[in-house]
Amino acid sequence: MNTILIIGSGISGLSAADFLGSLGNNVVILEKEGSIGGKILSYCCKATDSCSRCGVCTAHEKLADTLKKKNVRIITGTDIKSVTNTGEKITIKAERKNPYIDQQKCLDCGACAEACPENCISVYRRGDAVQYIVDYSKCRLHKGQECDVCMKTCPADAIEGKAAVKPLTLTGSDAFIATGHTVFDAAKKPRYGYGRMPNVITGLELEEMLSRELDFPEDVSDVAFIQCVGSRDPVLGRNYCSSVCCAYALRMARVLKYRKPDIKVTVYYIDLQAFDKTFTRFKEELLSLGVQLIRGVPFRVDELESGKLRCMVEHGNGDETIAEHDKVVLSVGMGPDLSSGEVAELFGLKQDEYGFLSSEKSNVYVSGTCENPQSITESIASAEAAAVKIGEKE
């Protein structure tokens, strides 16, 4: 049976692992971070009483399903050092950070988190998925001290490592690149005041807020979303539509209206991207809820003395819309992951002018948001499609 090496444990990598594992392949997922799941961990469920089909719950189910697979191994905290590819065999030399928690062996007893003298270990518990995540920056091992408290405490021998890192060598027949994306750094668009004005936040930050809290801050009664921040912007060298931002912004607008019906929500956009199978219905629902959709994105955001944020939009006919909001959410677009260049070099992949990856090698596959911006369901489809190609080879 083949061993397939998957780089990245986001939704795309997990979907591929789930599929390939179910077909009986041995799968090893290498994950750079200390946690499994990639970006989905911070996304919120965007359902009200009815689902808006964002896919965050299904992504978590994929995560839990994959964790249950015996022939899928997931190694977190891994840095890839070198890759050799003979065309038949791929050898990856990597370094794994310790302490390493094998989430598949973990019994969720919580002993390690309690025992850790530096409180490095936190629990991520959502849906079916439970993970114990190490914050390496606080860990004694990574400060050059000796420590094996967590390792000794674990009743399931799920924690490994006395030294700070462990070198690994992995071989496989195929490599599956699913390194994901990084969202645009909103501070690079200083006109919107991100980083300077506390009430200007990114879509990702709103996701995190909504995924943890039920109540939106009391004093916030007027929220505006600004679309296409870092997308469709040739000046920034990002002349492409990130395709998912309209989806998440409009879905979150709906959630805000649901949780706090009096809240005023405005969405400033260039073009609304249809993202649902029956998008017109979705749009009609938003309008009936009173969400204001305004074509045109503000030129800048000003903070007034009252603390309000003023947005000014100039329309095609010279008219202006000036409105004040309590909070402005910047819908930051997807860009290639910061590690893309490195990954491209290691695996001999092509990078397009924006930095997105593609593969011309017969045993290296690329899928998910490292290939181009896409939604969760599209990522699942693209991962399965690529996995099918690996499956066909047998």
Binding site: S50, E61, R125, R126, R212, L214
Partner: protein, 126 residues
Amino acid sequence: MEKKIALYCCENSAYKAAACLTGPELQKGIEIIKLPCTGKMEINLILKTLEQGYAGVLVAGCPIDNCKYIRGSSRAEKRIEKTRELLKAAGIPEQRVRMEFLSSVDSHKLAGAIKEMKQELEGVMS
């Protein structure tokens, strides 16, 4: 009288969300009952639960269009509505039965619903 709530959970969504609930105040006086789908929830099952002395029945299922079985939670929604009508007709506070829609990753919504229901019951049952 202790105001106990029977929390009927769809095993695909709310049950998982309930499993992630921490905070003892939320679990006190809550009995979690697993269902394969809220579409299995019959009106009579709710009424029988109330007969057994539970102050409230909270049925938590997948948001509409998120039901693994397509129409389970929308069927449940209608049945719960019908149950509330029945209770109202019988002079029993309809707040004792409630439906909540949440996905498996929305634990905090469940916590909020339980809290709200407890308060409501406090109001109608004193």
